[in-house]
Amino acid sequence: MNLRNVILFAIMAALLVLVGFLQSPSVAMGMVNMCLISAIMALGVNIQWGYAGLFSVGTMGFVALGGLAVVLTSMPPVHEAWSAGGLGVLGALAIGVLTIVAAVQAWKRVPAGLGRMGALLVILVVGFVAYRAVLDPAVDAIEGTNTAVAGYLGGMGLPVLLSWVTAMGLAAGVAWVIGKVSLGLRSDYLAIATLGIAEVIIAVLKNEDWLSRGVRNVNGLPRPVPYEVALQTNPTFLSWAEWLGLGATEASSLFVKACYALLFAIVLAIIMWLSERAWKSPWGRMMRAIRDNETSAKAMGKDVKARHLQVFILGAAVCGLAGAMLVTLDGLLTPGSYQPLRFTFLIWVMVIVGGSGNNWGSVLGGFLIWFLWVQVEPIGLWLIGLLTASMPEDSGLRAHLIDSAAHVRLMTMGVILLLVLRFAPKGLIPEK
């Protein structure tokens, strides 16, 4: 950390403090929370891109899987649904896995040619038909149970913080499969493939209602911190608030946000500690070598494929963790809210603007870009307000401009990305 970086972070902190004064402390704290989550997502992408040069744009999928993990871990199980079709779903999933294993074995064992194609086809078709035959009735039974509030299998009813761990596991597991299949592709193809796979993950989340209610959303996820409303009626808390000279509402809102911020900051600190330590160790040296020159690294005995898979999984796990934290903060899972623009490309902007290959850069990028993502709209509205102040009230152009204000946000992101790429291609905090 040199002086320049300290100053950059100080400016960022000052911006947030300024928001606290000019808008409200509560807004600032809310932003800090989202900034922390964004920073972790950016670290996840940085592990894949900055460490290993993997152009994976499937971030959204892993973030969404993290969200799914929260539901699967922390929601109470729906016993009704389990007895209606739980076994059927598990059976169908087992059939699905068996089919894939059989297909892979056939691919490996049967010599290439028509025989292999035939065997594969038979295995896949039979497996698929069996899978659907077992799954469909079970799913219908599950989704038929009290659809308005349940209609899914529920979770395991474990503490919500545990879901942050399962989120990493889930994302890592899926990343292992994706990585096995697609890491051999060259960069642009890998990008499109991961972009598509992320969309497929979202489609599963949206349409497999038995899993997490699909687009019906899961509301009321348990919280790791107290509820504001409970605090507002808690005499001890109220006396604290009074002592601090804050209103009950404001104090409770700030307190809850501070609790979250503390949790998130701890997670971020752990990840940073692990990342920095790894990056400065022989492991990091090896990864930099692989990123610099794959052929040469191979010739020097490094197993590039295995290492790529390793960082891909690590990055995915970190993104999954961030996704779980996000859903925990929101208190609900809305699969419809996962959009590539917001959960993949915006995160990439964070990494590039911050400085790829540099952990501190990613953190700064996460903070700064989230800050702008939220603040550009009011600034844009204000600017357009200034611009149009002299226009007559009923001017069509004025109305058009005001309606367009919200779109300034995307344009700003684009302009920032282009400027950084052009004039500071290594980002605000370059890799040393």
Partner: protein, 263 residues
Amino acid sequence: MIRVENLHKHFGGFHAVDGASLHIAEGSITGLIGPNGAGKTTLFNVIAGVHKPTSGKVYMAGQDITGLEPHELFHKGLLRTFQIAHEFHSMTCRENLMMVPPRQAGEGLMSAWFQRRRVALEDEEIRRRANEVLEFLTISHIADEKAGNISGGQKKLLELGRTMMTDAKIVFLDEVGAGVNRTLLNTIADAIVRLNKEHGYTFVVIEHDMDFIGRICDPVICMAEGKVLAEGSLAEIKSNEQVIEAYLGTGLKNKVKAEGGHV
């Protein structure tokens, strides 16, 4: 040490290596010469696992190593350098050397995170070895330079240095002398000979500079059009009719091509 049997490598219709067979004796410094496009580099690439051969076999110490991955061959003691230097440009010269030793404890994430002391001790040892190598190659003064910023000849030295960071048995050097000034070339030649004598490395060297070949190599193998043409001492090769014709023929062709605008 290395036996190549009837090796073919085809790219589409182009037969880069077309039935080459050769044997490289343990402890030798074998020179591999031949006109441009003779298939020398492709042969290297196939032996070193970069390309899978179309047909044919490669044996190392009697063991079939055909089609193994480069990193697997590395662990068997087979190393190679590249025609165009493949340095790790964003790393310092010392780091370029330090990344080489295989099975470093610190390359495992768990050790990197939680066995700091063990990793540090091991790394200290590797650093010491890297410093020795730098000393040996007389490039200690650039140890902390980014490898992307050093001169072409220094990069070649660095590549040679990397092969010294592990217990190599056989090292393939692809055009070590290309674009290297006379002084550095001599340093490289000295280093190769010393490594051969003191550490028992076997070398296979592709090089166009006949003085260089003549100074360190015996025997010399000449390739042309994907086949092995002749083998023997440099003097023998130089007087071989077929070799002269192969060089002259393509030499003329090359001249014509160059005038036609080929780079």
